[in-house]
Each structure stands twice: as C-alpha cells, then as structure tokens.
C-alpha cells in the first residue's frame, strides 16, 4: 500500500524522467505551488539527479574516437602528393650530370643535350688518346676466337674510332629432349 509520500516520489520521478502525462505535470505544479517543503524536496531530487547524471557521463562514457571524415581534397591529397614526389624523383634521376661530361670543345649539340632534357639527342664519342707504340701489345691470336670491329664515327668527317674485339666463337646445339 503506497503512502502519500510514495505517491509523491513516484510523481517526482515521472516528471524528472519526462514520463509524466500533462495531467500529472499539472498536478505536481499545483502541489509545489501549495507547499514550500514539497517544492524544496522536489528541487533536491532534481538537482541530485542532474549531478549524478553528469558524474556518470563524465566517468563512464568516453568521447567517441571517431575518425574525422576526410574531405575530397584530403582523400586525393595523399595520392597526389605521392605521384608528385615520384615525378620529381624521376626527373632528378633522369637529369644528366654536367660535371661528368667530357670536354665540350666543339661539341655544342652534345653539351646542349647534356644540360637540356628537351634538346635533340646528338651522338658524341669519347676522345681517345693515341696509345704510345711502346705500350702496344703484341698480336696474340687466341684459339677459338674471331675478330670483330666496332666502328665509331668521330667528330670530324672521315675520322673513326675502331675498336677491335675478339669474341669467343660459339655455335648452337639443338636440344633433343628435356633432361
């Protein structure tokens, strides 16, 4: 059997929890208007409820660690940056080193090609110092080799650098079966 105090506390609870009907809210308002002690009691309940609710939320709930939603630029920014870095690296890798070029006397196009990626490609040759005769090697024939020459045009018309090579003679053998 519920007492008037019980009924009042139920009414408090329902109003605080927003479960009361309009009639119940009106009833409570009239009770509170009529009695200061009841009004004080209700305020105590309401404030206690608010304090505890706040304390619980601060202690138990975590701020959701949601990932920030990335905008379009954020989403494509990283691939773009990677692509740009790759292009830059490729550019520097392909860029010729001027310091490693041979002397540039009379080799204007070669110099241009060496310093400018977009200049037309010009063939250039190394300048070979004549070998003193004292250092010439005796002609030695090796068995199983054959002579070959590589002819490289020089700067002036009619001049060539000839490289003699001896390559090992080879022949092919048909494979009859897997082994």
């Amino acid at each position: 059997m519920s007492t008037p105090a019980d009924k009042l506390e139920h009414l408090f609870s329902r109003v605080i929890d927003a479960e009361a009907t309009p009639d119940e809210r009106e009833l409570l308002r009239s009770v509170l208007d009529a009695d200061a002690d009841t009004r004080e009691l209700f305020e105590q309940y309401r404030e206690l409820d608010a304090h505890i609710g706040r304390a619980l939320r601060q202690s138990v709930h975590t701020t959701p660690a949601l990932r920030p939603r990335l905008g379009v630029w954020h989403r494509i920014g990283r691939p773009l940056a990677v692509a740009a870095a790759a292009c830059l690296a490729t550019f520097f890798w392909l860029q010729p080193r001027v310091a490693n070029q041979p002397p540039t006397d009379g080799s204007g196009p070669a110099q241009a090609a060496a310093t400018n990626l977009f200049a037309p490609w010009q063939q250039s040759v190394d300048v070979v110092e004549p070998v003193p005769s004292a250092f010439e090697r005796p002609e030695v024939e090796l068995r199983g080799t054959e002579k070959d020459w590589i002819v490289v045009p020089a700067d002036q018309p009619g001049q060539f650098m000839i490289i003699e090579v001896r390559r090992v003679r080879t022949h092919t053998v048909a494979v009859q079966q897997d082994f």
Partner: protein, 187 residues
Amino acid sequence: MTVDGDWLPRLVQQAQRGDRVAADRLVADHNNCVRSAVYAVTGRVDVVDDIAQQVWTRVWERLGTLREPSRLRSWLYTIARNTALDVSIAGRQLAAREGSLEAAPQPATNRGVPDQTAASGEVRRMLLQAVQSLPATYREPFVLRHLEEWSYAEIADVLGLTVENVETRLVRARRMLRETLADKVKI
C-alpha cells in the same frame, strides 16, 4: 527501441559480411551503450574498459547469429550484461579467496574531462560511490535512465521487467541516493 532506423540493419548486415568500416561504425556508435551496461551491472568505473573489451570480442564472435539487426541494441545489452555478470561472479569468487574487491583501490574516475576544482572531483567521487552502493536491481535501471536516457519501456524491455517495476526501482534508487548523500553533498 526495436527500430533504430533503416540504416542500422544495413550497417549490421555489412558488418556481418565482414565490412571493416561498418564494424568500426558499429563500435563507435554503440560503445557507450556497452560501457553503460557494464557499469550498470558492476557499479565500478575501473573495470569498465576491460569488460567492454571482452564484450566486443564476444560480439564479433556472435554477430553472425544476430537474426534481427533492428534489435541490435537489446542484443548488445544482453551480451554486455552477461559478460559483466560473468566477470563480477568470477571477481566475487576471487575476492572470497583473496579478500574483498570493495577494498581494492579505485583508479581516478575523471577520465577525459578535467576537473575544474579538486572539490568537484571529490563530489563526483562521492556521487559515484553512492551509485556503486546501490543494490544492482536498483542501480541498473537508474544507470540506464541516466546514461542512455532510455524510457521506462525501453529499460523494461531489456531487463525483462514491467514498466511499473522499472518505475518503482527508480523511485527507490533515488530515495536511497538522497538518503546516502543528503548529509555529505550540499545539493
């Protein structure tokens, strides 16, 4: 409570199919609910993190068995509650052998939100102690009402009670808290 909108069933189905993004979203949206359930059962802030981890492990193990995605919240609450009860029972058994868990030091409970004053931290500690001292039957609906802001009907649904029962338990919880805190905290 049975319908959380069309997006929730879709999200659950995507997570059931192994969609990692959907799974992350589920955790982000429902982690506080799980934490509330754990706290409601145990009344202890210091164990919430550990038990919530266990709850999510169980959830991923059983997500494929959830047949009504629209009832995800009830389903999650049940798993969280059972996990918290299991841990509590295990803890009590351990305490019976090694000493009381109540005597165990409680870590600071002001996670995330810095106290403006030491006094407010002390008040909060007293408020939480008062909630912890409530019998579990009263604490559970009280915590759900305050943390999840569930209606009486929603609380009754997950706890298997009538609405009148929920209301009575809330009234008694408030009365006990007022009696406990009246002479300690100036309200």
